[in-house]
Amino acid sequence: MSHALLQNIWFVLIGVLLTGYAILDGFDLGAGVLLPLVARSDRERRTVFQAIGPFWDGNEVWLLTGGGALFAAFPHVYATVFSGFYLALMLVLFALIGRAVSFEFRSRVESPRWRAVWDGVLCAGSLVPALLLGVAVGNILRGVPLTPEMEYAGTFFTLLNPFSLLVGLTGLSMFVTHGAIYLMNKTNGALAERAGRWASRGWIALLILTIATGAAAWFDAPARFQGKPAVIWALPAAVLALMAWTRILLAQGKPGRAFLASSLTIAGLMSLFGAACYPYLLPARNAVDIAGYQGLSIYNASASPLTLQTMLIIALIGVPIMLVYTAYIYHVFRGKVVLEEEGY
């Protein structure tokens, strides 16, 4: 296989991993953010924890694998983004550390104060990544200042521009909607009703913010629109159609299918993000020439053909097996959460 073909395949595969992350960890991030908003009693909060408990760890592995794959396939992007977005990434790490232990620690002590602390940690630990991952996407769409040596040339505050914050809120509303629909599927009674109300609110916010992001991008990230074939406009149309479908299914009281529609909406938004950036992984906002490209593209930032090919073999062996057992475990834990009094 030619180097260029492998580079393109890996652009798609990194996109698939990050989309898998956004859909799967997306629902548990959203549910974590919603915890104080939908659950009023310890019993309801336990239900939320139980609803995401068996899955969050496996879901987060999509991010870890995405990070590892980015390191292997596009080492320069891994190096530039993670060192350049240092403080923002550290905030995400601290948040993920907190939420990871909250699942195990919360149930161990019965005291309401102890549990309130870990409820807070789960909520904050979910809110920070749910917001900042979108901010990172916004900065990539908009482009960041880069040096000819591929290094990030801005500061922490460069990242906090209005456009990227808007994308951050879009991402947050996407995760909240998705998490709310998930909770509608996994819970009963008042909890499920509250989750339903948040699904509606989140959906309206997502619709408005997505349109606002598209409009703002036209002015603040015009380079993402240049040189694209006209057929690209099918993508935003599909995203809007999927959003409408989600709403219709919610109105019809079909949360199971609405979850599928919401997952496809996320996949659509991620495809839009990928198509807008292609062939760049980190476009430069300033005029800079990095081996013929204005930024880090799949062509100037990738690994060697042998590494890309080896990684492709690893992915072709490992991913199908992983998908089979992941699907089976979701099947095992299907249905609504039933709390067992003597369990946890």
Partner: protein, 448 residues
Amino acid sequence: MDPVLLARIQFGLTAAFHFLYPPVTIGLAWLIVYIGWRYLRTADPEYERMSAFWIKLFAMLFAVGVATGITMEFQFGTNWSTYSRFVGDIFGSPLAAEGVFAFFLESTFLGVLIFGRRRVSRGFYWFSSLMVAIGSTLSAFWIIVANSWQQTPTAYRIVGEGVFRRAELTNFLAAVFNPSTLPRYTHTVVASLLTGAFFMAGISAWYLLKGRHQEFARRSLQIGLVAAALASLLILVTGHFHSVQVALTQPAKMAAFEGLFRTESGADLIIWGFPDTANQTVRLKIALPGLLSFLIHFDPKATVAGLDQIPRENWPPVELAFYPYHLMVLLGGWFILISWLGLLLGNRRFTHRPYLWAVLLSLPLPWLSLELGWMAAEFGRQPWVVYGLLRTQEAVSVVVPAEQVLATIILFGLIYSLLLALVIFLLTREIARGPEPLAVVPAQEVVR
């Protein structure tokens, strides 16, 4: 402050802390598989009770391991971006493979272990524990592959200039099975088994000393001690092969381990001493004549390269490699002694109070030896981050301000200390509470 020193402190701190968790969970995972298998074979509820109790402790340790592992996956990029550019073509693949082959497996099936006891059949529950054990053991393989390539880089060519200068892969399998991978992997995995075994044995010894949960504690002590006896011998064997490999592929590191300043034929094996780099000697040493030469070359007269063969600027920090290495070896001897003593004591091991105290007090020692071994391995590689190819001094992120690294070191220090305090608090609480009474452990209903 020196940004390189700060980045090293941060990496050392976060890695040392992370390394407290995966080894014990790997060891415990296999012991849990064994207990679960006994349960499947005998249907004896005592085994189910044991399985439930050790899984509970396992889950807590595992959670902190996962939480602190996320940091490691991203820290190469955040703090060592020059390193990441240089090694990414080779180092990234094992990290990605670890995700695809290992992380998914262990984390997905861990959900079954924690939440699924009453949802799946006994057989599938046991199968899930096996998948968690295999996943965590595979995870160790891939991360040690990556780290071993730094120690003994193989199957690469250096291409490019400036920021594009990097090591490119020429043969994946040769890079994966570089000379130090298997010695280091086997040594680490048996050390992990030992850590899990001493954890199980130590807690069981405490119950026996307190006269609580007799049957539970006897069986668990038995399993822990047998595993420890086996693992402690395998540590000696794998440690030997690992040392031979270091002597052959990283002579500077072996010379630092042994405080061998001058090349010698018939080199002594030092049991203990005080290296003095300024005067290039080891003071007050207790040594076995010719044994180092014999162990490496099977010839007591053979020549072993000393630091005099290495340019001074390429010397590892001798004291920092020597002391951890020798302490680790001494601890290895203690593990053999204490575990085999237990087997020799026969049934008296369950009642012999001084012996039970010794087992209890030995509980933290495998952690100490793991940390020391890792320090010896990493200090011994200095001044290189990739042995002979890239210096640690040249590997850090150029764009991260030193004060930001300092700030995150302080935050990591606070959060990780808090996590350690919490996990110890919760573990001791669960241990004090003890295994659930037999009647309360609900019988499993077999679904499908």
